[in-house]
């Protein structure tokens, strides 16, 4: 039996290393250690072996069994490795480009809007939205715009036909006309009418002017307005907000300047200039960036807030103008052409 075991091990020694595939391996494994395998056959002979020889022979069989198992394990590892290897194609060339689209991009106007909203959220402003189709009341009357103000003219503002009906845009009076809002200030009115002071909101959105499209004008563009209503709000607070916004946006070296101006819905009113010579394509000392002021008492009275109690400020600016300044873009039309060579620059 010892000789038989030796012969068996010698056979295994020569057969296993030459096995290439898993079926060959499984067949060989069955031949040696399967239920009808040769080792199993030898083990069955153990019963007829004299008792005194049993321990020695048993030891031999166990050793042979262990050696066979080692062959089996090694072969299985080798075949598995070969199988994995076979799953691979030729080595890659890392320098070849991926055929998949490389990245998506936010539109620069979105980037600027979101950056402004982030800056303003830090000081407690909540972002609100309102309809782009508005009525004369929300766009003009409530903002203290005189009845014969040029902004109301059909020459400057887009109107909808008198029979137009909008199911989800409320009118103040039944016979007022629908129009495309000329500023996002209408959202301030809707917010004040809906809510209660104190209020601290920022309303970004699309606005419309009946204007010739050129490098700096567009039939629709975007604004962003802030409104803060509380007790004891002062001009100094307003200046602090503007300083904060533009220092956050453009760096600490940025200065802002107020120039008194006229808007119907604020008093006093200011235009805001920026001094930011470190920006690209800025060659003037001061650049006009927006308008602001203390909410006019008339506006408060109109929305039912007691002007003796409530004070507030409002600030508005054009997002295209800001984006042009930030990125050094010189033509507003690029925002609306969506040339991929333009869009991909803002990844």
């Amino acid at each position: 039996m010892q000789d038989q075991l030796s012969a068996l091990l010698a056979k295994a020694q020569s057969e296993f290393p030459s096995l290439k595939t898993r079926p060959e391996f499984e067949a060989a494994k069955a031949r040696f250690v399967g239920p009808n395998g040769e080792l199993t056959g030898l083990m069955k002979q153990m019963g007829s072996v004299p008792k005194e020889q049993k321990p020695a022979l048993g030891k031999l069989i166990n050793e042979a069994k262990a050696q066979l198992q080692a062959h089996i394990d090694a072969t299985l590892r080798r075949i598995e490795a070969a199988e994995l290897q076979a799953q691979l194609g030729p080595a890659i060339d890392p320098s070849l480009p991926s055929p998949d689209p490389d990245f998506g991009t936010y539109h620069p106007l979105t980037l600027v809007r979101e950056e402004m909203c982030r800056i303003l959220r830090k000081v407690g402003f909540t972002v609100v939205e309102g309809p782009e189709v508005e009525t004369e009341y929300y766009c003009f009357d409530a903002l203290n715009t005189p009845a014969d103000h040029p902004a109301r003219d059909a020459q400057d503002t887009f109107y909808l036909p008198t029979n137009a009906r909008f199911g989800n845009i409320s009118k103040k009076t039944p016979d007022e006309k629908y129009l495309l809002r000329t500023h996002t200030s209408s959202v301030q009115i809707r917010t004040m009418l809906k809510g209660e002071p104190p209020i601290r909101i920022v309303s970004p959105g699309r606005v419309y002017r009946r204007d010739t499209t050129d490098a700096t004008h567009s039939a629709n563009f975007h604004q962003l307005e802030c409104l803060y209503v509380d007790k004891n709000v002062t001009v100094r607070d307003l200046k602090a907000l503007l300083d904060y916004i533009f220092a956050s946006l453009l760096g600490k070296e940025t200065k802002t300047r107020f120039r008194t101006h006229y808007f119907g819905y604020t008093e006093p009113s200011f235009e805001v200039d920026l001094s930011a010579k470190h920006l690209p394509k800025v060659n003037k000392e001061w650049i006009e960036i927006g308008g602001c002021g203390m909410v006019d008492p008339t506006v408060f009275a109109d929305v039912g807030y007691d002007p003796e109690v409530w004070t507030g400020y409002a600030f508005g600016m054009g997002l295209e103008r800001l984006a042009m300044l930030l990125y050094g873009i010189d033509d507003i039309r690029y925002f609306y052409q969506n040339d991929l060579r333009f869009l991909r620059q803002f990844a």
Binding site: T126, E129, D153, R206, A240, R257
Partner: protein, 821 residues
């Protein structure tokens, strides 16, 4: 509005203050300086008077001369200068720019060789010195100033003219005196009004033959009208100083009387008008409303058709002037005029504005009336005009000025305290500075009474030209303006916690943009207003007509958009036409949909995925298809809290599917219920018509903004089984047209019934669709996989098989589906 700094000096001493400082003052006072125009010669160093001593021909150029020029011993004596001007004759004294001079346009004079001949400077024309457009020859200094004199001492001083934009609340600043008043407050310099000399007592006897009567039949539109007869004037060109002033501010001098009227307008802001007395038919002036369709030929030679709400100045027969807007062609002053009627009037701004708008006719006069002239400065401006006419054109005032209309009453006082002002400002301005600001603006403090805590209560008298000041808050701005907005102290933003949630619309837009950018889409922004041509395929004619604006500005931006997709197609077209590969694009924005007989404004997001036929790649990828679009739309709907997998999807089979391809697109939802979506392949013909090449898959999701809510229900954890699942597959032969989801639903229902409470059906999903060989015509095979699982044990084959058999029995019994063996 143009303001000449030379002219301003008549009313305020600005000597020693640079133009830059004046611009800054005007800017900070609240007016925009749009342009600074310098006239005359700038400061020119190394440009001096020289005398041409000799003129010889240039050896190498026919048109050039070589001159010797004496520029004086301190500038190097006699120099040789090559000159191309025809008039560089010996004996002429001319401006000579010496090497080192910087000429206008920033060009430096250097020693040079011109065609081989050295030239030690340049003799200058008037144009080169920017004092006129005369470029034909050298500027000959006929007065023969001393040789070597710096040229600025010889040339007339230049002027600086500011083009200023005046805000609509400050019509009082539409004049030189108005601006001077503001500057006097800023620079704390005295304001000098012109001395007005004419007194009614100086008038000679009245001339009813020239002006019999003045009547105003429209006192509402014309509250005050004055007319003065001046006889014996001599019409001639204005004196040089007057012409120069008008030219400086861009006005063309015409004759002395017209120029004076113009001058007073720009001095006081008060329009006046001079009629030739002879041309007033019936010697009668009637201020009346025009007859409907009445015609008048205005000074610009155009015939205007008037309407019955327009005010005119007429004589007995015809209208002479469109009141406050423009004179008529045949009533004005001309070279033969000897007697004139001077009109100084107050017309209501609304009336002038409406007329000017309607006629599309604007003038310096209408511009001022529209914004409001001060009726209380009217008389003084009138007397100033009379002074100037008598002084320059001669003549005498005949009789008293006829004055029709009552005085427009004016009295306004505002009570304000320093405490109030400081409260609004948030910082303290010393009382003395506040008082100084008021005084400088001629806002007189007429009474001062103590208050408990807010300092003295000042009663401020408001001058008639400051109609814009009405409430204490208005005075806050006046104080701050003059005190200086630059002195507002810096501080930190105080932000008491008011933080609410961002609007649900904002949150939705962010979510979908984040999702699509993450899927490597590029965000686009297109115009809301689109053309009919573009939208034709995207909406019914009825919808289109309801989307039309009442007053579009240009033809291709006439309608509100009912979809974002056409804009994205436009973007694809633009990129394709520029040879730029563009495939995955999206946009968020408002669209307008019909709901019943109304429109609704919706929040929408849309994407397109275009085939890039041109774009070759070394490695092929599978293109997008309908199910790519379906998957993306599911993501967009989820951002609005809608689970698209639970919504019935409708295959679009209409041939006319608003730009979507029949048989290859689908829709879900309905704006009636608040939201709607369409997705799939865009109509091939429509895409081609839009100028886009290749197939385009797209999706759009739209929802009413009020349907979006930011409140989310918090999810609850569901326990799940830790035991293995049992799977069974089943293929069914069904009608070709039957949606897989219908079959799936039926299967799930039957399976759930078969399982009962024994264990759970985890899911039924389609994993194969087959058509063709082995199946009858009009049928397809759908293969489903069932997943069973128990919460508490491993399922045995027997119990699963029992259920599976039950399912098949039930299917055979109750459905037309055939089990495919």
């Amino acid at each position: 509005m143009k303001i000449s700094l030379n002219w301003l000096q008549d009313y305020i001493d600005l000597s020693g203050i640079s133009a830059d400082e004046i611009c800054r003052a005007i800017t900070l006072l609240g007016f925009e300086v749009e342009q600074v125009i310098r006239t005359g010669a700038p400061e020119l160093k190394n440009v001096v008077v020289g005398e041409i001593l000799t003129r010889g021909k240039h050896p190498n150029a026919d048109k050039l001369s070589v001159c010797t020029v004496d520029v004086g011993p301190e500038h190097g004596g006699v120099r040789t200068i090559v000159c191309g001007a025809p008039n560089c004759d010996a004996g002429n004294r001319v401006p000579v720019a010496l090497p080192g001079a910087i000429m206008p346009g920033n060009f430096e004079i250097k020693l040079s060789k011109i065609r081989g001949q050295e030239s030690q400077g340049m003799m200058c024309s008037a144009k080169e010195l920017t004092i006129s457009d005369e470029a034909q020859g050298l500027l000959i200094l006929a007065d023969r100033p001393a040789i070597g004199t710096p040229i600025n001492q010889v040339l007339p001083p230049g002027d600086t003219v500011l083009d200023i934009e005046i805000t609509p609340n400050r019509p009082d600043c539409l004049s030189h005196i108005g601006i001077a008043r503001e500057l006097s407050a800023w620079f704390k310099k005295e304001l000098r009004y012109p001395a007005v000399k004419f007194e009614p007592a100086h008038a000679t006897e009245a001339r009813p033959d020239l002006l019999k009567s003045v009547r105003v039949t429209a006192p509402e539109e014309c509250p005050l009208y004055t007319a003065t007869v001046i006889t014996g004037v001599k019409i001639a060109p204005s004196p040089a100083w007057l012409q120069e002033r008008l030219r400086a501010i861009g006005q063309r001098p015409i004759n002395n009387v017209v120029d004076i009227s113009n001058y007073v307008l720009h001095e006081y802001g008060q329009p006046t008008h001079a009629f030739d007395a002879k041309k007033i038919g019936g010697s009668e002036i009637i201020v009346r409303l025009a007859a409907e369709s009445e015609k008048i030929v205005t000074l610009d030679g155009k015939e205007r058709t008037l309407a019955s709400n327009m005010l005119v100045i007429a004589d007995a027969q015809k209208s002479l002037v469109v009141a406050g807007v423009m004179g008529g062609e045949n009533s004005g002053v001309d070279d033969t005029t000897t007697d004139l009627v001077l009109e100084v009037a107050y017309f209501k701004r609304q009336s002038v504005r409406a007329t000017s708008r309607k006629l599309g006719l604007s003038s310096d006069s209408s511009y001022r009336y529209e914004r409001g002239v001060d009726p209380h400065s009217l008389e003084e401006a009138g007397r100033r005009a009379i002074d100037l006419i008598l002084e320059i054109a001669g003549g005498k005032v005949a009789g008293f000025t006829q004055r029709i209309g009552a005085d427009v009453p004016w009295q306004r006082e505002i009570v304000v305290t320093p405490g109030f002002i400081n409260e609004k400002l948030g910082f303290t301005i010393p009382e003395a500075d506040m008082k100084a600001a008021f005084e400088a603006l001629e806002l007189t403090i007429v009474r001062e009474e103590p208050t408990e805590s807010r300092g003295p209560a000042w009663t401020v008298s408001i001058p008639s030209w400051r109609d814009d000041l009405d409430r204490p808050i208005d005075l806050v701005e006046e104080v701050l303006r003059v005190y200086g907005t630059e002195k507002i102290p810096a501080s930190r933003v105080l932000a008491p916690g008011l933080v609410g949630d961002d609007d649900a619309v904002v949150v939705f837009n962010r979510r979908v943009a984040d999702a699509l950018v993450g899927q490597r889409f590029h965000e686009c922004v297109n115009y809301t207003l689109r053309s009919v041509r573009e939208l034709q395929a995207a909406a019914t004619p009825e919808t289109l007509s309801s989307l039309a604006l009442a007053n579009p500005f240009v033809e291709d931006q006439s309608h509100l958009r009912p979809t974002l997709v056409t804009g994205l197609l436009d973007t694809l077209k633009l990129n394709q036409s520029r040879g730029v590969a563009a495939s995955r694009l999206f946009e968020t924005g408002r669209i307008f949909l019909e709901r019943g007989d109304q429109l609704v404004e919706c929040v929408a997001v849309a994407f397109v995925i275009a085939e890039n036929a041109d774009k070759r790649s070394w490695l092929k990828r599978e293109l997008a298809d309908f199910y790519t679009a379906k998957n993306l739309v599911g993501t967009l709907a989820a951002a609005a809290g809608i689970d698209l997998s639970r919504q019935p999807l409708v295959a679009v089979n209409d041939i006319n599917a608003f730009g979507w391809q029949a048989g290859h697109s689908a829709l879900a939802g309905d704006i009636k219920y608040g939201w709607t979506t369409r997705f799939g392949l865009l109509d091939l013909a429509a895409v081609k018509a839009a100028g886009v090449e290749g197939k385009v898959y797209a999706g759009q999701f739209a929802i009413l903004p009020e349907k979006l809510t930011s409140a989310e229900t918090r999810r609850r954890y569901q326990p799940f089984s830790l035991f293995p699942a049992a799977l069974r597959d089943l293929a069914l032969v069904v009608d070709e047209a039957l949606p897989a989801a219908d079959v799936q639903k039926t299967l799930a229902k039957i399976a759930r019934a078969a399982v009962g409470n024994a264990f759970a059906l985890e899911g039924v999903g389609v994993f194969d669709v087959y058509r063709g060989k082995g199946l009858p015509e009009g049928k397809k095979s759908l293969a489903f996989s069932f997943t069973f699982r128990a919460a508490d044990r491993t399922l045995t084959d027997d119990e699963v098989n029992a259920v599976f058999n039950k399912i098949q029995d039930e299917l055979t019994k109750s459905t037309p589906y055939q089990i495919r063996k």
